[in-house]
């Protein structure tokens, strides 16, 4: 077996919900040791998030938690106990990275801010990920990714111009920050390798997310234009839409950017009379008559399944793709199977569940979930005894005192 690229790297992980755990899953699936700190008073909230295996709510049955927490150890620590704080410092003394996603100031109140941790490990790389950053007028407002995507313009840009915007059901900005955090951590490790120096990084989800809407923002800063949601319309393309197909809630996306592609599309449709109308002969004309065009396209696509539309059009190089559902992705998509995107894992309590592999494949080093997600506190004893070298008596005493809870 090839060596994992991050073998030997050690991470103390205070993060929870989506963003931080995705980061540490990536690190863990590439071979890093991840010790995830959770307490009974404040378990990772994702443990209690739907869907649950068998529909049964429990600490160790959430599908979303299972996905984001492969390859980790779960350790219970009640951080209000001074002895728990000492245990954290012992873990940090042997670690490379500390990641936390508490509200600003929490780590300081626990006696675990950067200055304290630097004291036990001078070259530690510590990263705090928060919604708005560690300071600023809104820094202490508690909120959730589901709402932050509105702050960052993504809600405004989703939906139909004649209606209220739509909500991306999965908190979109929660899925921007993880990779910026990962990039910052890997870069900080590069800096440490070259200089011997660690650092503290204050990374704001809000700021990272703005970068993914840069042209929209700059259209305002330069041209004064406030871009609005436009359904599926797209300047420079027509047709550019999602069209109904045979079956319940079955749809196919089609996007035509050039007149050549339009001609190819017409051929596949057997050149119906309407396609020869001057209303549709050039891109500007098709764009002008987009509503009528969309309706006519839909009358053609409805005769086929979305898979048939995709196959016919892609065969001649016209961009088309099935609007896939969770079922399509998990059960049917041959490309995702080819890439082994989803991996089936088996957990002692939850049983079979899915976890994802990265969207990138490294040609020479593996990335695989090392173990299924940990049950709540599953590795408390392992971490105390095998990693920290505690004896049975001390371990039992800490359990009794509620430190390891």
């Amino acid at each position: 077996m090839k060596k994992y690229p991050l073998e030997g790297l050690k991470v103390v992980d205070f993060s929870w919900i989506f963003t931080g755990p995705i980061v540490t899953k990536y690190l863990g699936d590439h071979g890093a040791e991840i010790i995830k700190i959770e307490s009974a008073a404040r378990p990772d909230g994702t443990r209690l998030m739907t869907p649950f295996a068998g529909g049964k709510m429990g600490m160790n049955t959430s599908g979303v938690y299972a996905n984001y927490n492969s390859s980790k150890y779960s350790m219970n620590l009640n951080l209000r106990e001074p002895r728990a704080v000492e245990i954290v410092k012992k873990l940090v003394a042997r670690a490379d990275i500390v990641l936390e996603t508490f509200g600003p100031g929490v780590m300081g109140r626990l006696g675990l801010d950067y200055d304290a941790l630097k004291g036990v490990k001078p070259d530690i790389v510590m990263l705090s990920m928060s919604m708005f950053g560690q300071y600023g007028p809104y820094a202490k407002q508690p909120t959730f990714g589901q709402l932050l995507q509105a702050t960052n313009g993504f809600v405004h840009l989703l939906g139909w111009p004649d209606r209220s915007p739509s909500l991306p059901v999965a908190a979109y900005t929660d899925y921007i920050a993880p990779w910026y955090v990962l990039i910052a951590l890997m870069s900080a490790l590069d800096y440490r390798r070259r200089t011997g120096k660690g650092q503290y990084i204050d990374l704001a989800m809000q700021e990272a997310s703005v970068h993914l809407a840069s042209p929209v923002v700059m259209d305002y800063t330069i041209n004064g234009r406030i871009q609005n949601r436009m359904g599926n319309n797209c300047p420079g393309a027509a047709p550019h839409g999602v069209y109904p197909c045979q079956g319940e809630e079955r749809w196919c996306a089609i996007a035509v950017f050039s007149d050549d592609e339009w001609q190819d599309l017409c051929k596949v449709m057997d050149n119906p009379e309407w396609t020869r109308s001057p209303k549709f002969d050039t891109l500007p004309h098709r764009a002008e008559n987009i509503e009528e065009l969309d309706e006519l396209m839909g009358k053609w696509t409805i005769n086929f399944t979305p898979e048939e539309v995709m196959a016919k059009l892609q065969a001649v190089g016209v961009a088309a793709g099935v609007v896939q559902t969770g079922q399509d992705l998990v059960d049917n998509d041959p490309q995702l199977k080819h890439r082994r995107h989803f991996v089936e894992m088996d957990h002692a309590e939850m049983g079979k569940h899915l976890t994802e592999r990265p969207p990138f494949q490294l040609s020479k080093t593996p990335s695989e979930p090392q173990r299924p997600f940990p049950s709540f506190g599953e590795h408390t004893e392992l971490v105390c005894k095998e990693i920290l070298g505690m004896d049975d008596q001390e371990f039992a005493e800490l359990i009794g005192a509620g430190v390891l809870a």
Binding site: P5, G55, G63, Y114, G136, T143, Q146, L147, L148, T151, N152, F154, V155, L157, L158, R163, S164, P165, L167, P168, A170, W179, M186, A188, D190, G198, D202, A208, V210, S214, V217, T221, I222, Q227, R229, N232, C234, G241, Y243, W251, A253, I254, A319, A320, V322, V323, Q324, T325, G326, L329, V330, Q335, H341, H353, L354, E356, P358, P359, F360, T365
Partner: protein
């Protein structure tokens, strides 16, 4: 903050050869902001992404694409026709002294030119090469034509977005290109970490479809665990297993985003908002309810609807800024549905010196760009220069760094290699 500017970047000035168009440009941009020396290698005449709008003052021109500006700051730029023998030879010379190659061509294109990973790794075994494509380098869909809307659909993202009485929709901004480039950068730096320890370079093969599947959260697990297809398109509402909540609410001048009973150490926050509502005569029967003990999935839809009606009336009486500022005071979770203008005017971003100004001498203007997304005790995000003009650094790189003579350069220009 002058002390910010004096801090060094996180990355060394690693040489990145960036062959991408708009589908991959963000990757090199992120590395350039962190200190890498990113050289954009464009075809003679320029990267086709220079034709992607919007444009500076709405004038279509390859030197005025805002899309191109946004994702190519801090890079240097050269032109090179890699479809010619001479161009390929020059590219291999550049690869000898490079650390990274990033590209977003159709799978197989570079192999056909003798510039695929296998060939380049013979020139430089340490090279990390990153390929960003819609579906990855191999597999049944790898050659599909897949602009953003198609990739977003194949990833299952459009299925969960929009209104139930209309077709699924995508964001009106190309997010699959952004996500794949962003996640590609993370993969590239993991490969870099390995290279620095082992001396071994490798190929990073990225799928935009998979990068978007990563952002779905529930959908694959709803199906796998429960054979459920929840999260059909609910527009401004949010539906999970039986109950639906309003998440997007009209207010006086736009919309705000808020959900009743959002898991907060709850009671106080709800009560403070209800107090404000009561003062204006709304939600009088919401007073005195013990909100802290209520789980959001244990409510009857009837109750939710009647409370939401009262909250909705209150929101309509106020602007999004007013409601947001009140929420900040009350430590409530509400957020404004911001437009680009609202984002640029955000007091939070201003307090953190987020926006940066870059000079564009050719345009006679200074342009505002999104800036540092992190603060560090030791290093800093690098405020560099505007995106390069077509072939701006040809002489600097070909003559000074690669050692070509002025005469050779002229010949290459004449033969349209450069």
């Amino acid at each position: 903050m002058p002390e910010e500017l004096e801090k060094p970047p996180m990355l060394d000035s690693y040489r990145v050869l960036d062959l991408t168009d708009d589908r991959g440009a963000l990757c090199g941009k992120i590395m350039a902001e962190l200190g890498a020396d990113v050289v954009k290698v464009e075809r003679p005449g320029g990267d086709p992404a220079r034709n992607v709008g919007p444009f500076f003052h709405d004038t279509p021109n390859p030197e005025k694409s805002l899309n191109w500006f946004a994702f190519n700051i801090n890079k240097r730029g050269i032109t090179l026709n890699i479809e010619t023998k001479d161009g390929q030879e020059i590219f291999r010379k550049l690869v000898k002294n490079a650390d990274f190659v990033v590209e977003s061509f159709t799978p197989g294109y570079l192999d056909g030119l003798g510039l695929g990973y296998e060939a380049l790794s013979k020139v430089n075994p340490r090279i990390v090469m990153t390929s960003i494509t819609p579906y990855g380098q191999t597999g049944p869909h790898s050659k599909f034509n897949s602009p953003d809307l198609v990739t977003m659909s194949m990833a299952g993202y459009t299925y969960i977005c929009g209104d139930s009485d209309r077709p699924p929709v995508r964001f009106s901004s190309d997010q699959s290109y952004m996500q794949s480039s962003l996640q590609a950068t993370a993969g590239t730096l993991i490969a870099h970490y390995h290279r620095e320890l082992s001396g071994e370079g490798q190929h990073v093969d990225v799928s935009a479809q998979e990068s978007m599947v990563w952002t779905l959260c529930y959908a694959p697990h709803d199906w796998y665990l429960l054979k459920a297809l929840h999260h059909t398109r609910e527009g401004s509402r949010w539906k999970r297993f039986g109950v639906t909540y309003r998440l997007i609410w009209p207010c006086k001048d736009g919309y705000v985003c808020y959900r009743l009973l959002m898991a907060q150490p709850g009671a106080n926050v709800m009560n403070e908002m209800i107090e404000s509502m009561n003062k204006e005569g709304f939600g009088l029967d919401m007073k005195g309810i013990d909100w802290g003990t209520m789980g959001f999935d244990q409510m009857s839809q009837e109750n939710i609807n009647s409370w939401e009606e009262e909250v909705g009336k209150y929101f309509l009486n106020h602007t999004k800024r007013e409601l947001h500022e009140e929420a900040v005071r009350q430590r409530n979770v509400l957020q404004p549905v911001n437009t680009s203008q609202d984002m640029v005017e955000s007091p939070q971003l201003e307090a953190r010196d987020f926006w940066v100004q870059l000079e564009h001498p050719e345009l006679g203007e200074t342009i505002t760009y999104p800036g540092p997304y992190f603060k560090s005790t030791e290093t800093a995000w690098q405020k560099g220069r505007r995106a390069p003009l077509v072939g701006e650094h040809n002489e600097e790189i070909y003559e000074k760094e690669l050692g070509l003579s002025g005469e050779e350069l002229l010949t290459l220009k004449r033969e349209k290699v450069i």
